[in-house]
């Protein structure tokens, strides 16, 4: 069962950009692509926990600001030769609002 909660208007996140949502168990980065799709990932790079929300978004990937790992926004998987994965969460846009799934809060393991 998904339990969508309204987070904010889509326009609060720039295209090809990201903002963070604070949760009791750490920050989740919410990305908006050039095509207005949204994705939610843990805000911690699998390499050395770099804040992914500060990276450069291109296509459906983000480049970590610390050491340039490229992470897929869809799978959380590091691309190319790098190996690692960051947790992803359900996210969607409905009538111009960003929705996240409340159950992810419960499902998240403390990092």
């Amino acid at each position: 069962m998904t339990d969508w909660i309204d987070i904010a208007p889509l326009s609060d996140v720039p295209q090809r950009g990201a903002r963070v949502v604070k949760t009791a168990l750490g920050c989740v980065a919410v990305f908006r692509t050039a095509k207005d799709e949204v994705f939610a990932l843990d805000n911690a790079c699998p390499h050395k926990a770099g804040p992914l929300a500060e990276g450069i978004v291109h296509g459906n990937s983000v480049t970590c600001p610390l050491h340039n790992w490229v992470i897929s926004l869809e799978t959380g998987e590091a691309q190319g030769v790098d190996e690692g994965r960051v947790a992803t969460y359900p996210a969607q846009v409905e009538s111009g609002r960003i929705l996240l799934d409340r159950s992810f809060l419960r499902g998240r393991t403390a990092a």
Binding site: R19, T23, A24, A49, N60, T75, R102
Partner: protein
């Protein structure tokens, strides 16, 4: 017994239902009511009517004879105002109550009007029906019209009026036109074509208010203060299903009137078709699915089994000379690959998005001849693995062997033009080679081929390869990144020579292989564009590395460092107190004196940045740009004010330089220093630009470094006055900005072009360079901290705080 069928709305969908019914000989007595004072017509052809390519008579789909032959009772210009589902009656506007056995909704949609102040002024219209079209046609040449909305409808309205000589401006809120159907590259080409038709296009423009005079529209005011005068204002920003009547009648309604697969609403005797319906969560805005719905509705009415299935949709724009097509889903994605083909000379762009060997989406501009074939591949989910290599060239290329580019060049006649800019033919290049030119540089210097815009470089190399055979190896010049084969230098040349002022323009004209670049090329392009077109190009923060996007250096734990400017290394007790207070207030873990003669507050939380900046701004301190590819510090020594050896006011000159140069963006960081005498206490001879003061004036030297490479500067010029020193430094900075490759410090650039070339240019073009530098500074010489505090502070806060939500 003959059933009574009442149809609400004579639109494109309901017209189709009736055709299907009568074609099948179904026995209904139909009463057709329409709010518009006319019967069914082809609404989508209003655009050709507007542009003068068709007349209204030509777009009528059903005329009086047809209604007569099928005994349809027509009540045009009459609206239905109420429905009683239990009694199975409708009430017409004049109070008549009519009974039905079956009822069909075909009420279409209502244009959405943004509730801007002034939206109810006379002269503010939508684009939906013949009345709107007539208003636009009546406008007449040389009147002004503003169209809000750069989607399909808005652009058709704009192009139609422009064809009639109206002075049209399109105002679009998003960064590129038709963003729902097109990617940026296609949007760029479309914009270019519309601008060629004389239409003014403003993207990323926010409307604020509609201004009027005596109750009539006068102008549109944008939120940046621009006023666009107009005699008519057309809003074409979207549609909303027309559900009011259904809702009041008590039918189930969401975004549209809910229908099942048989087009039946929540009442078994009521059907709905067209833009007013919602099916499986979707609403509709194009006719193709409406026609499918109409067929299903007719079958349902006749008691046949039928099912409406949603299909892939495609879009074309009905503007003469703008051939574009888009279909399917063309967002980037995991496991999705792009095949991009660009032919800059013909203005052609094609992009296919492929996943699991199936084409998922297609965008085309300029040459859409094959669009139906591609649409078929999308709809039928055809496996394309066998034709993948040649797929993008269309159906004509399937089956044959791929062309060898060298063979193609070899086959060209001697008079085939290779370099369009300089009019150089293949024969001239062959002659140059016969006379001894054996590489690209030599061909370029003897014939000028590829010397201007550079797009033909590859072709020239191929001519060399064909002519010289194995003696010539096509050099693999390092391209910017995987998105392009072009080098930084080639791209810079293109940006200047072809006047490319936006990123999509560069992607298109330089043949980018990806749809929108990557973290390597975007920051470089952003710099080139803002350096070359300071007025036209708008800086794109999303193409900048985090430090430059947030104007602070990111630390390994995700916090930031804050370094305010201390002009020329000079500070005051007030500034120091403000720094101390800020360090206390924001619990800054480390306060350090930097190697650049100022103070660094390290470990500031991202959310605190706007606050600490505001506090520092309050005592007049501004960003030190310690994070930028731009002016960093101007170090100084104490100079004549205090030092017994000082020859000139080195501190004063350093402060002046920093105040004139700060905020400027350069290919890499730019560090300066001014020493008061050759003892050089400010280490000026290992800076990008250093000044050594001497009795007779100022020695300006460039190309020093003390990082990964250690270099001593070389003398550029010696000048007599402070003013001249400042001008020479501005000129050389501008020359560096305009010519160097992104991420080359001055010494690297100097290694490529030579000190002599720089010297000559600075001597000859000093004033022009200074003027261009100043033009750019008129935009960029301002404090980004203050700007972000005012306009972007929100962006530094978390989007939402759910920390208080119980994690149960």
């Amino acid at each position: 017994m003959r059933q009574k069928l009442i149809v609400i709305g004579a639109g494109m969908a309901s017209g189709r239902v009736l055709e299907h019914l009568f074609d099948a000989g179904a026995d209904f007595h139909v009463t057709l009511l329409n709010a518009e004072p006319r019967g069914n017509y082809n609404r989508i052809m209003l655009s050709p009517v507007l542009s003068g390519e068709k007349t209204y008579a030509e777009i009528v789909t059903h005329d009086a004879q047809w209604y007569d032959a099928n005994s349809v009772t027509c009540r045009f210009g009459e609206r239905i105002t109420a429905i009683d589902l239990a009694a199975k009656t409708v009430t017409a506007e004049n109070g008549d109550v009519l009974a039905y056995d079956k009822l069909i909704f075909g009420t279409g949609s209502n244009p959405f009007m943004i509730p801007l102040p002034g939206h109810d002024l006379e002269g503010v219209i939508a684009y939906r029906d013949l009345e709107d079209t007539q208003r636009m046609m009546d406008l007449g040449p040389d009147n002004k019209c503003v169209v809000i909305g750069g989607g399909l409808l808005g652009l058709e309205a704009a192009a139609g009026m422009a064809a009639r000589g109206v002075d049209v401006t399109v105002v679009h809120i998003m960064g590129h036109l038709m963003e729902r159907q097109l990617d940026e590259a296609a949007g760029y080409l479309l914009r270019k074509a519309l601008v060629d038709k004389g239409i003014t296009v403003k993207c990323s423009a926010n409307s604020k208010q509609i201004l009027g005079e005596n109750g009539k529209v006068r102008a549109l005011l944008l939120d940046d203060g621009t006023e666009l005068p107009c005699d008519l204002l057309v809003m074409a920003v979207g549609i909303r299903p027309n559900v009011k009547l259904a809702q009041e009648a008590g039918l189930a309604v969401g975004k549209g009137i809910h229908v099942d697969d048989q087009m039946i609403t929540s009442d078994p005797n009521v059907l709905a078709v067209g833009e007013c319906v919602e099916h499986g969560g979707a609403i509709f805005g194009l006719v193709a699915p409406l026609y499918d719905q109409a067929k299903v509705a007719a079958q349902t009415l006749m008691g046949q089994k039928a099912k409406f299935v949603q299909k892939e949709l495609s879009t074309k724009l009905k503007v003469t000379g703008c051939d574009l097509f888009s279909a399917g889903d063309f967002a980037d994605g995991e496991g999705r690959e792009d095949i991009v083909f660009r032919d800059p000379a013909r203005g052609v762009y094609r992009r296919l998005v492929i996943a699991d060997n199936v084409v998922r989406g297609a965008v085309m501009y300029g040459d859409t001849a094959d669009s139906n074939w591609f649409f078929g591949l999308i709809r039928d989910k055809t496996d394309i693995s066998d034709m993948r290599d040649t797929l993008i060239f269309g159906p004509a290329y399937q089956g044959g062997s791929p062309l060898d580019p060298l063979a193609a060049v070899a086959a060209l006649p001697r008079d085939a033009e290779i370099c369009g800019c300089n009019g150089i033919c293949k024969g001239q290049i062959e002659d140059a080679i016969a006379e001894g030119a054996s590489d690209l540089g030599a061909v370029r210097s003897t014939t000028k081929a590829s010397g201007s815009c550079g797009t033909c470089t590859g072709l020239v190399e191929q001519v060399l390869a064909v002519t010289l055979g194995d003696d010539f190896v096509v050099p693999a010049a390092a391209s910017i990144c995987g998105c392009t084969d072009m080098t930084h230098e080639d791209v810079r040349r293109m940006i200047k020579s072809q006047k490319l002022t936006s990123m999509p323009a560069v992607w298109q004209e330089c043949g980018w292989k990806t749809s929108c670049g990557c973290h390597v090329c975007r920051p470089a392009l952003n710099f080139y564009l803002l350096a070359d077109w300071p007025l036209e190009y708008q800086d794109d923060p999303q193409s900048r590395f985090i430090n430059e996007r947030k104007h602070a250096n990111i630390q390994k734990d995700g916090t930031f460092s804050v370094v305010p400017r201390m002009w020329g290394g000079i500070t005051t007790p007030d500034e120091l107190r403000a720094i101390a207070d800020a360090a206390d207030k924001y619990m800054v873990p480390t306060v350090k004196v930097t190697g650049g003669q100022r103070i660094d507050l390290l470990g500031v939380k991202g959310e605190d940045l706007p606050h600490i900046w505001a506090d520092l701004n309050a005592v007049g301190m501004v960003s030190g740009h310690a994070y930028s590819k731009g002016l960093r510090t101007v170090k100084t020594c104490v100079g004549t004010d205090h030092c017994r050896f000082g020859t000139q006011d080195s501190t004063g000159l350093g402060i002046k330089l920093e105040k004139e140069l700060w905020g400027s963006w350069t290919p890499h960081k730019l560090k300066l220093a001014v020493s008061g005498c050759p003892r050089n206490c400010a280490e000026a001879t290992c800076k990008d630009i250093g000044v050594i003061c001497v009795d007779s004036g100022y020695q300006v030297s460039i190309g020093g470094a003390a990082g990964m490479d250690v270099r001593e500067t070389e003398l550029l010029l010696q000048v007599a006055t402070e003013r001249e020193a400042i001008d020479v430094i501005k000129a050389v900075t501008q020359l560096y900005r305009e010519n160097a490759k992104y991420l080359d410090r001055i010494y690297k650039w100097m290694g490529k072009v030579g000190l002599d070339w720089i010297k000559e240019r600075v001597e000859i073009e000093r004033d022009a360079l200074v003027e261009r530098f100043e033009l750019s500074q008129s935009i960029y010489r301002k404090d980004p901290w203050a700007d972000h505090v005012q306009t972007k502070a929100d962006r530094y806060r978390p989007l939402a705080n759910l920390a208080l939500e119980a994690a149960e």
